[in-house]
């Protein structure tokens, strides 16, 4: 009995440690600046959405959100298609020079190098292509970064599918590609979903390349716009908190909706 009480207490403590910092940001976003600086209250006395209204009226948060959705959506979709095809080739075929193994290993190595290492040359490349401050500039780099991840994840999902099923379909007259489409893809769907979710979260949250490659609300993503806003000297605490809430909301809502797949993807990806 005491064991159960102790366990409950520990669980409660953990949840509190996770939630209290978030509560503080949310509470601050609902206070006025006068209340924040002069009264030092623990919860909003007179909660209002004024801070949010101000952000949407003066700042470009609608743009940031749109840019984030387009850039994330396109790059995740493209990398999922290209990455899955490559992963299937690596998982199923033996190529000359054991190319399938070498390419898999090379992609993993590229993935290990922290993204910050290629920051400057990527900046120079996008500058040369005249794609600074555009959706396409971000989409190109995010697609490439995602591909290394998609190949790595999907390869192991494809390997789990027994080859008999495709071979049976091919005996029955399917070509390799139609067997892939009709048999393999549906079976790998849970893996695809987990991979896509993970890629969406990482891409939506990306900041470093967005910081360097975008400069105006035409292309700035949510994290980039949020950081710019709170980097201004005249920013007040209330706006900062509201910007934080807005910046976090889309991806947190997304993650909570898909959380069952998310936990599987996270832990699978790490253990494999």
């Amino acid at each position: 009995m005491t064991g159960r009480v102790a366990r409950g207490l520990v669980f409660g403590l953990i949840v509190a440690i996770v939630l209290v910092p978030l509560y503080w940001m949310a509470a601050t976003s609902l206070k006025s600046n006068k209340e924040i600086t002069q009264e030092g209250t623990l919860y909003p006395q007179d909660p209002s959405l004024d801070n949010f209204r101000k952000l949407f009226a003066e700042k470009e948060f609608g743009h940031y959100l749109l840019n984030s959705i387009v850039v994330t959506g396109v790059s995740v979709l493209v990398s999922l298609v290209l990455g899955s095809l490559a992963a299937y080739a690596i998982a199923r075929f033996r190529l000359v020079l054991r190319l399938e193994r070498r390419i898999g290993l090379a992609l993993l190595t590229v993935r290990i190098v922290p993204a910050v290492v290629i920051l400057i040359p990527v900046y120079l490349l996008i500058l040369k292509l005249d794609l600074l401050d555009t959706w396409l500039g971000l989409i190109i780099i995010y697609t490439a970064l995602n591909i290394t991840f998609v190949v790595w994840m999907m390869e192991s999902f494809f390997r789990e599918i027994p080859t008999d099923l495709e071979e049976a379909a091919m005996v029955d007259g399917d070509s390799r590609l139609s067997a892939f489409r009709r048999i393999v893809v549906p079976l790998a769907a849970p893996g695809l979903v987990a991979t896509a979710i993970f890629a969406v979260i990482v891409t939506f949250n990306e900041f470093l390349f967005a910081l360097v490659l975008t400069a105006t609300p035409d292309a700035m993503t949510m994290p980039r716009g949020t950081a710019t806003l709170i980097g201004r000297i005249d920013v007040d605490t209330a706006s900062m908190a509201a910007a934080g809430v807005l910046g976090a909301l889309p991806i947190v809502i997304f993650a909570l909706i898909v959380q069952r797949h998310l936990v599987r993807g996270l832990t699978l990806g790490a253990i494999k």
Binding site: V18, L22, T37, V110, I112, I118, L211, P223
Partner: protein, 301 residues
């Protein structure tokens, strides 16, 4: 079909396509990665041997940027801060994550509820995590100051004190990433066979001995992978620091990523910054290689 000969020809063409298929499947992904990640890497290595600033003629300086780097006290400080940050944060996250995973392994209903809460820190935008902790640490009207004053104390100074700011950054990282450690290790703990542990218990071994002699050795592969992944990831930490302290006060929280960014985009020393990032990349790669080799040895032993 137009007679036997063309059918044979068609079949032969089809066989050729079948043979080329895997290469065709691989090509688009490989080309994109080559063009967008590998070519820039090569370009970066080339740039690292140049002395140039935006808008000035480039001159080649060979390896001078690299030798300069090692005598640059600011770089050595940044590297030292990074190593301290990564070691401390990952160590705390591992111990906390492991303790929690063991504690929760037998409790499935509570864990499901706990999981929902734990997802939030690791999926929330890192830039926003920086904001969350700035609102906590702020001297004026920050959460710590408000609570302290409610209890009759003084305002709390975190971000203006070098040691406290550094520890504050570690706390941020622990808050953000212990959940991932926990979830990975929980999956690891739950996949362990129960027999050896129960046998040890029947033999009268205490909880601690059972843990050290049986649970820990069986868990080592998962533990090692989790630590390596987290270490590599932590080495590239940028967003949170950019928002929380920008590397300050002084150089107390200036990680290599922040110093490299400032060198390139604030001080416009592109070649020097490229050399810095190549060096950082080599350090991380060397760490990963050593870690993988050690892992293999553990697995075969």
């Amino acid at each position: 079909m137009h007679g036997g000969r063309s059918a044979v020809k068609e079949r032969r063409q089809w066989a050729g396509f079948e043979r080329a298929l895997p290469y065709l499947l691989l090509a688009p992904a490989v080309l994109v990665v080559l063009a967008v990640l590998v070519y820039p890497l090569w370009d970066g290595i080339k740039a690292s041997t140049d002395f140039y600033r935006f808008g000035r003629p480039i001159e080649s300086v060979g390896l001078e940027n690299y030798t300069d780097l090692w005598s640059d006290p600011q770089f050595r400080n940044a590297l030292w801060v990074t190593v301290r940050f990564v070691t401390l944060a990952v160590a705390i996250e591992t111990v906390l994550g492991l303790a929690l995973a063991l504690f929760c392994a037998s409790e499935l209903r509570g864990v499901r509820f706990l999981r929902t809460a734990l997802i939030v820190p690791m999926v929330i935008t890192p830039v926003v995590v920086g904001i969350v902790f700035r609102l906590i640490y702020a001297t004026e009207a920050g959460m710590l100051t408000v609570v302290s004053e409610k209890l009759g104390g003084d305002p709390v100074l975190i971000l203006s004190d070098p040691t406290k700011a550094f520890l504050g950054l570690v706390v941020l990282d622990v808050w953000e990433w212990t959940p991932l450690m926990f979830l990975i290790l929980l999956a690891g703990v739950q996949s362990l066979p129960v027999e050896p542990i129960e046998a040890a218990r029947v033999d009268g071994a205490g909880a601690w001995r059972t843990f050290v002699d049986h649970t820990l050795p069986m868990l080592r592969p998962v533990l090692a992978v989790a630590i390596v992944l987290r270490t590599i990831d932590a080495f590239g930490t940028f967003d949170q620091v950019f928002v929380l302290t920008r590397g300050g006060p002084g150089e107390a929280t200036r990680l290599v990523s922040i110093y490299g960014y400032d060198t390139a985009f604030k001080f416009q020393q592109v070649g020097y910054a490229a050399a810095l990032f190549v060096t950082v990349g080599l350090i991380v790669l060397a760490f990963a290689l050593v870690a993988v080799r050690l892992l293999r040895r553990v697995e075969t032993a």
